[in-house]
């Protein structure tokens, strides 16, 4: 097991290093987004600044596809909002872990919140403890940001498509799989994953990747339902003296 941490700086760098394998998956996604930007009629500068300011891959890709088909501004923004709704859940779920951050560190951490450092940080919280966790999270956000902005820039610069048969985009779900397994620690969380995954799959044809959000809500409901049912049953099975208490 890795040695325990003794400073915020060490926590930052551990987050930085531990997210690197998952950062590889970001690069092909960024290249594709850069190319989508060219198709939508954006300049290389606009594409790169979009990545630097928005830093939310799925919403950028959906927005660029809509811009390519000539959609009006409000429609593009609405799509961006729907695709990003899962961040409302992420931000709420990680609020407690980032509690120690004050001042400008809080908005900076929020800006750097993505799927990968969210899941990685939640999974490491028990090991890291409350004071180092925010720094670990921040350290995980930085390589993701650098990789995202530079790979979209590269995609816009090259323009040529990375050969599809390489299947590099597949690195993205593989990275999420590594994060998913430790999140399955009991039966309710397993149920949440199964329902969330299958509903998202069934609704994959919905526009704006809305299936991901609907699937997440269904999965969470399944997890809560199973946990409460088990708790209720344990309560019924408990001996009468326990229920009455001392």
């Amino acid at each position: 097991m890795s040695p325990s941490l003794n400073s915020p700086k060490a926590a930052f760098w551990r987050g930085f290093v531990e997210i690197l394998p998952m950062t590889i998956g970001v690069i092909p996604f960024g290249l594709v987004t850069g190319i989508a930007g060219l198709k939508a009629g954006l300049s290389t500068l606009e594409i790169t600044l979009m990545s630097a300011l928005v830093f939310a891959g799925a919403s950028q890709l959906v927005a660029l596809q809509l811009m390519h088909s000539g959609a009006a501004v409000p429609l593009v923004l609405l799509a961006g909002l729907v695709v990003n709704l899962r961040y409302v859940m992420y931000s709420s779920a990680i609020a407690r872990h980032l509690e120690p951050f004050r001042g400008w560190l809080k908005p900076l951490a929020a800006f750097l919140l993505v799927d990968q450092n969210f899941a990685l940080t939640i999974g490491r919280y028990r090991q890291l403890g409350p004071s180092f966790t925010p720094w670990y999270f921040l350290g995980g956000g930085v390589p993701q940001y650098i990789a995202w902005v530079s790979s979209t820039y590269l995609g816009a610069l090259l323009g040529a498509r990375v050969p599809e048969r390489w299947g590099l985009e597949f690195a993205i779900p593989l990275g999420f799989m590594v994060l998913l397994l430790p999140a399955l620690h009991d039966r309710p969380s397993l149920a949440a994953a199964l329902v969330g995954g299958l509903v998202a799959t069934a609704l994959v044809g919905l526009p704006y990747r809305a299936g991901l959000f609907v699937g997440a809500v269904a999965g969470i409901a399944a997890g809560v339902w199973l946990e409460n049912r088990r708790r209720g049953r344990a309560w019924e099975d408990a001996p009468q003296e326990m229920k009455e208490g001392p």
Binding site: G175, M177, L179
Partner: protein, 107 residues
């Protein structure tokens, strides 16, 4: 699409992406969530991550892919590696390698 439209889109998307990430955590400094919601938030990682993984293994171009889908088998091999070794780089490497082998085998 005019240059003004492009910039309105970029700035609007930037504001939206920041707001959905910042306001929930900022507001939760002042307000506490009801226990029911807190309970639900614990299942966010499992439910959302599965929603990001499953469709990549089970669908192709927005359609149900069935068993003759190399991503499904490469993904299952990768899941085994992830579970056994708990190593991200190894999992991604083996998963991509399995995908290339399956594709060149003609699946």
């Amino acid at each position: 699409m005019t240059s003004l439209d492009i910039w309105l889109n970029i700035l609007g998307l930037a504001l939206i992406a920041f707001a959905v990430r910042y306001y929930p955590m900022a507001l939760l400094e002042r307000f506490r969530l009801p226990p029911r919601v807190q309970q639900g938030l614990r299942y966010v990682p499992a439910a959302t991550l599965a929603g990001l993984v499953f469709p990549a293994l089970l669908t192709h171009n927005g359609q149900w892919a069935g068993p003759a889908h190399p991503e499904l088998w490469a993904g299952l091999v990768a899941a085994l590696v992830a579970w056994r070794f708990k190593n991200a780089l190894l999992t991604i490497g083996v998963g991509l390698l399995a995908l290339w082998l399956l594709r060149s085998a003609g699946l």
